[in-house]
């Protein structure tokens, strides 16, 4: 039983752009706002989320025929929480500095609705290869969104990118950008841009669909 018959590269690409988790589906906004005050934090959160989403999706997809319907959400949560705990310990061991920066938000990956959403909507209904492609695409889309937000906020709010100063000592950083309001403003503007792009794409598609009809008439 395969709910989606799209080819694998399509599964991979849709999460990155057309169904981008943050900019189009508006999922996982809590970490997208909270840890994007610098590009490096955004990258670390993107990597940790990728690990959890890909791991959980693969496992859920492999076990999809064994998990009884009634307890599926609970099982997904157990699987996700396990991957999150593994990521938490691993970050603490290998990158204590990054772990300190991300603080509570590593543990909070478990409640990122993007991850549970992909399990329920995709991984539990599709074979492992498709689930893997879907999870990877969504993770990359999520990471891309975080990196975009983090880069913009760090450049304007700290005058640096990935910790490297960009503008010299005369630059007065817009501190508001690394504070919560800066996150909301940046996200709002980016959402506006994405909505505009989507609108234009739909208009083009409508026109393209309408043209032959007119030709027939």
């Amino acid at each position: 039983m395969r709910a989606s018959a799209a080819p694998l590269d399509e599964e991979l690409a849709k999460g990155f752009w057309r169904e981008n988790p943050v900019f189009v589906q508006l999922l996982g906004l809590c970490p997208a706002l909270a840890v994007t005050n610098s590009a490096i934090n955004a990258l670390a959160m993107g990597a940790a989320t990728t690990f959890v989403l890909v791991g959980a999706s693969l496992l859920v997809s492999l076990l999809r025929n064994f998990i009884p319907k009634q307890v599926r959400i609970t099982t997904f949560i157990i699987v996700i929480a396990t991957f999150v705990t593994v990521a938490d310990f691993t970050l603490q061991a290998l990158a204590p500095g990054v772990h300190k920066e991300l603080g509570a938000f590593v543990a909070l990956i478990v409640v990122n609705c993007l991850i549970l959403g992909r399990q329920e909507a995709f991984a539990s209904r599709n074979p492992p290869r498709a689930a893997l492609a879907d999870a990877l695409g969504m993770s990359l889309g999520f990471g891309f969104a975080l990196l975009l937000l983090g880069s913009i906020r760090e450049i304007l709010g700290s005058g640096s990118l990935l910790g490297l100063p960009l503008f010299g000592p005369d630059f007065e950083p817009w501190v508001i950008m690394i504070l919560p309001p800066g996150g909301f403003v940046t996200l709002g503007l980016l959402l506006g841009i994405f909505a505009r792009l989507k609108e234009r794409r739909e208009r083009v598609q409508r026109l393209a669909g309408a043209a032959p009809e007119r030709g027939m008439a």
Partner: protein
């Protein structure tokens, strides 16, 4: 009938198995990463001690016993983190001061910090936050705000440490961080509480200065 009963049984079995496998995985990763995490923590503590006690190059742990502090012998009982202070000694073996760990409630979660105290001058000589979960961008400035940290470089402890309203005017005042008032206040409160407990025993620094030289020598030999 049996078929209908099999369903909850299968549900229970699935969850039990999932929980069991999850537990094994978590315990396994915990055991694998624990030595590394402990080492990271010890290194961070070591670096923090030398940062709050400028000029120190060796350290010796001390614990409170009754009203005075005694040197902790290597291989003795492992004491809780906040029961131990560290004496820092310079190259010549002279006491620079004590690094005192303290913790208390912050805005969101417990703040753990370490501060250096020089008993001879009765001043706090440095402070560093070790662990906190204060609001990113606001409360977490207690980790890196230059003016705030600078206040702790030479800070009187009598009658007690207070938060400056406006510019820092008195020797026992700390610059509050704008946007992080609650976290700044929490740090001051944590330090005052630790001071109550540690300063009297540490002021009897004669007790510590005695074993200081031998301790410093041992510390270097480590």
């Amino acid at each position: 009938m049996t078929a209908r009963e099999a369903v909850p049984l299968r549900m229970i079995a699935t969850l039990a198995l999932a929980g069991f496998c999850s537990g094994i995985a978590v315990v396994g990763v915990y055991l694998l990463t624990k030595p590394r995490i402990d080492r990271n923590r010890a290194e961070a503590l070591q670096a923090a001690i030398f940062r709050v006690l400028e000029g120190a190059s060796t350290r010796t742990p001390f614990a409170l016993r009754g009203d005075e502090i005694v040197r902790i012998e290597a291989g003795g009982d492992v004491l809780p983190e906040d029961e131990v202070v560290y004496g820092g000694y310079d190259e010549a073996g002279a006491l620079v001061g004590f690094a005192i760990p303290a913790e208390g409630g912050g805005f969101q979660d417990t703040i753990k910090l370490l501060y250096g105290y020089d008993p001879a001058r009765q001043r706090i000589v440095g402070m560093q936050v070790l662990e906190s979960r204060e609001t990113p961008g606001l409360g977490d400035k207690i980790l890196k705000d230059a003016a705030f940290l600078e206040s702790f470089r030479d800070l009187a402890v009598e009658p007690q440490v207070t938060l400056a309203k406006g510019a820092r005017a008195r020797p026992n005042e700390v610059d509050a961080i704008s946007g992080a008032t609650i976290s700044s206040r929490a740090v001051v409160r944590i330090i005052n509480r630790a001071n109550e407990r540690w300063l009297d025993p540490l002021s009897g620094a004669n007790a510590a200065a005695g074993p200081a030289r031998t301790a410093a020598a041992e510390g270097r030999a480590e």
